[in-house]
């Protein structure tokens, strides 16, 4: 039985050897149940140990293995080769990020922005643990649950033309996570968070392209989070104009 193979065209960047990125082409065995990450692992294990990329859980939840696959941001552990076979598969680092090495991008910017949006529960007064949990009905949980599913895989940043143009933009995932806490019935930090979200490079920078939602592997729908946050912020501003002493509704 002759073994089927598939061509992998992989972007390389080795700053110690060449100033510019280049492409290496490898042929790897093809099976219908192989994902792109399996092909990369085959290359690294059997052909070229110098290929650098991140991965861990290989079940689509750790968020490490996002790369551009044939031009689209994808989790390589969850993208099957059969989608492309027999055509070659082109693997590149996630777009819109500085590249450290080969397929490894620098995500410092995201980590800093994540902290800015204060992704933790803010309370005026903390209830002591001994007094038990805050009650939260399944409906209240549903209000923010979807936005809590973000695995920080960065695919939405790669898909977002606004982030590509304006690196100041907070970006889809960070805004969705800010929204996640704003919508949590236990949280009282909406006003603080709106100082971060409501700036020009926050929600108002988004032009509602919606690509973030298309590429999100976890159906978080950051685009909806941003649009709804815009509405909420506007409503709050209107209310505070009409009812200056009432603050937040």
């Amino acid at each position: 039985m002759s073994e089927e193979t598939i061509a992998m065209k992989v972007a390389r960047y080795r700053p110690e050897h060449a100033a510019e990125p280049y492409v290496d082409e490898y042929r790897v065995p093809y099976r219908e149940d192989m994902v792109v990450l399996d092909a990369l692992n085959h290359i690294k294990d059997e052909i070229d140990g110098s290929l650098a990329y991140r991965w861990s859980c290989r079940m689509g939840v750790c968020g490490s293995c996002g790369m551009m696959v044939n031009g689209k941001p994808r989790l390589t552990c969850s993208t099957f080769l059969r989608e492309f076979y027999p055509k070659p598969v082109v693997v590149e680092p996630l777009r819109h990020f500085p590249v450290i090495r080969d397929l490894v991008v620098d995500m410092t910017d995201f980590m800093e922005k994540l902290k800015e949006v204060k992704p933790w529960i803010i309370r005026k007064e903390e209830k002591p643990v001994e007094e038990g949990e805050y009650l939260q009905t399944p409906e209240e949980l549903d209000a923010y649950k979807q936005f809590s599913m973000c695995i920080n895989c960065m695919l939405c940043y790669s898909a977002c033309p606004v982030y590509g143009r304006d690196p100041e933009f907070l970006g889809p995932a960070v805004i969705a996570l800010g929204r996640r806490y704003n919508l949590d019935s236990r949280d009282q930090g909406q006003t603080e968070r709106r100082e971060v979200l409501g700036v020009d490079w926050g929600i108002w920078d988004c032009t509602f392209v919606g690509e973030c939602t298309v590429v999100c592997p976890k159906d978080v729908d950051p685009s909806a989070a941003i649009q709804r946050e815009k509405v909420a912020t506007t409503t709050e501003a209107m209310l505070s104009m009409m009812l200056p002493f009432k603050g937040r509704a």
Partner: protein, 569 residues
């Protein structure tokens, strides 16, 4: 060499590490806490835990009942003192996580809900749908961002504990960005690096689970305890090993064989699908041996059937199982059974610690799967491990903080010297080595295969002896490894080489301790010694490093209120 001075260094940014970091930061905001991890914390393997986190919070439950279930599940090898501490602190930890925003699933009254789990006699498992680990990890990580005292070293790989004058005084870690060693000093070091499932070829564990902290402690002279006890989870997807959560059985799923029969009737009729993992994994292997399993390209398997639970329940309680089965094997569990087989999941053993995470080496602590307190004994109950990360992460973090506040300043200079020697070793052994013919991937693959053959669900004197020999041989061959990659920027092959070094050490303790334990207890099943032997082996094994391979000693088991008895269900 760059040196960073902190009060506490935590290695590993998963459930235990983050919980320890927050606990330490809360003891005093004057403390500087370094969180060092080879991956960004939210990539840690805690993220893959699915089913839930145990705490006696539900109706009809009690601390004693949780303790008894855990001890019986452990086949009486758990330290009962540790179990009592553990069960008492689980509910508080669950509530604390709730206050920090964890989206626990709720009952209609808004209270935290509990579900059934294997080996637990009442509903006791708190959950966030079937992405409990993911939510727990992200809640802890996001909450950790508000503590100014926590300083992160993301993508730093710790290669050595810096021991000076009989104390652990920090770590040497390579910054993956440039492969240079940094010296990170502290008055207390906590290892929270998780398990080592990757020493086997078929595992639920992510690529990062290479037993790094275990190997670091072991080389520093701290024993690894009960390493022979490796948990096989009964239900992994053939081929990939992706976990199908026990919650699918907790919610009412069935295990069936080729005859369409719920075969557990023959093995554990009182518990059926809610039996503990060791018993269920053995049952599946026996079904395979009796020819009542299905044949597949990745070995024989049985069926996990949840289709009778209906789409609504599956989407609400088991959405991840549906997502994973659809994406990775093209099966929609709403309509079809899922192929599953036993898969390496968890190490009951680990770094020997006391109840507050202290090891025998002053200044060194451990918590989570990397540690062995021991509360899991010979078999861990599902959903006890996330709680273990919280309870013992917090305990070790607090203890390390209190000890650090008492301790005098570390003299940095001698510690730096050790780190400099480590830098020289890494350059000579890997980056500038001129000889070597062995590929990392080849040795790793052979190690994993040897472990599967020798230390699987069923073991014998022969299989273990052979594995001991094979691991020794691979250790020899490892001296001859050569890297393709000599770059300094993000050299993942260097990391893989160092991980393999760790895996070899950890694997050797598993097979050596397994060989010496000539009885069957919990997950350790010897065909040649099928019975439990309390007379000789109601003992913890302790593997110490020695030039000729691990030296095995034994330590006592703490028994408080539950005298060892036959493990009946």
């Amino acid at each position: 060499m760059q040196t960073f001075v902190h009060d506490i260094v935590i290695v590993g940014g998963g459930g235990a590490g983050l919980r320890a970091a927050i606990a330490a930061a809360e003891v005093s905001n004057a403390l500087s806490v370094a969180l060092v991890s080879k991956v960004y914390p939210m990539r840690s393997h805690t993220v893959s835990a699915e089913g839930g986190s145990a705490a006696a919070m539900g109706e009809g439950d009690s601390l004693d009942l949780h303790a008894f279930d855990t001890i019986r599940g452990s086949d009486y090898l758990a330290d009962q003192e540790a179990v009592e501490v553990f069960v008492a602190e689980c509910p508080g930890e669950i509530v604390r996580l709730e206050h920090w925003g964890c989206p626990w699933s709720r009952g209609p009254d808004g209270r935290i809900a509990v579900r059934a789990f294997g080996g637990m006699s009442v509903n006791r498992t708190v959950f966030a749908a079937d992405k409990t680990g993911f939510h727990l990890l992200h809640t802890l990580f996001q909450t950790s961002l508000k503590y100014e005292g926590i300083v992160r070293y993301d993508e730093f790989f710790v290669t050595k504990l810096l021991v000076e004058d009989g104390r652990c005084a920090g770590v040497a870690a390579i910054d993956l960005r440039d492969s240079e060693v940094r010296c990170i000093t502290a008055k207390a070091v906590i290892l929270c690096t998780g398990g080592a499932g990757r020493i086997f070829s078929f595992t639920t564990n992510g690529a990062i689970k290479t037993g790094d902290g275990m190997a670091l402690a072991y080389r520093a002279g701290v024993p690894l305890k009960d390493m022979e006890f490796v948990q096989y989870h009964p239900t992994g997807l053939p081929g990939t090993g992706i976990l199908m959560t026990e919650a699918s059985r907790g919610e009412g799923g069935y295990l069936t064989n080729r005859e369409g029969k719920r075969f557990l009737e023959e093995y554990i009729p009182s518990k059926m699908e809610l039996g503990p993992r060791d018993i269920l994994s053995r049952a599946i292997i026996q079904e395979i041996e009796k020819g009542r399993a299905f044949d597949g390209p990745y070995g024989q398997y049985v069926h996990l059937d949840v289709s009778h639970l209906g789409e609504k329940l599956i989407d609400e309680k088991l959405p991840f199982v549906r997502e994973l089965a659809r994406n990775f094997v093209g099966i929609d569990p709403v309509h079809e059974p899922i192929p599953v087989r036993p898969v390496v999941h968890y190490m009951m053993g680990g770094i020997d610690t006391d109840l507050v995470g202290r090891t025998r080496l002053p200044g060194l602590y451990a918590a989570g799967e990397a540690a062995c307190v021991s509360m899991n004994g010979a078999n861990r109950l599902g959903s006890n491990s996330l709680s273990e990360c919280l309870v013992f992460g917090a305990r070790s973090g607090r203890q390390a903080a209190e000890d650090a506040l008492e301790a005098g300043q570390t003299d940095v200079r001698p510690v730096e010297k050790v780190a400099q020697a480590e830098q020289a070793r890494l350059v000579a052994t890997y980056l500038e080595k001129e000889t070597g013919r062995e590929r990392i991937s080849a040795i790793r693959r052979e190690l994993q295969a040897a472990m599967e053959r020798g230390a699987g669900v069923f073991r014998t004197e022969e299989s273990l002896k052979e594995a001991v020999e094979e691991v020794r041989g691979l250790r020899e061959r490892y001296r001859d490894v050569a890297l393709d990659d000599r770059d300094r920027a993000f050299n993942t092959e260097l990391v893989a080489a160092l991980e393999l070094d760790n895996m070899l050490d950890v694997a050797e303790t598993v097979v050596r301790a397994g060989l010496e334990r000539r009885e069957s207890r919990g997950s350790h099943t010897r065909r040649d010694h099928p019975d439990r032997d309390d007379e000789r082996f109601l003992k913890h094994s302790l593997a110490f490093t020695a030039p000729e391979g691990p030296r095995i000693e034994y330590g006592d088991v703490s028994i408080t209120r539950w005298p060892p008895a036959e493990r009946k269900y």
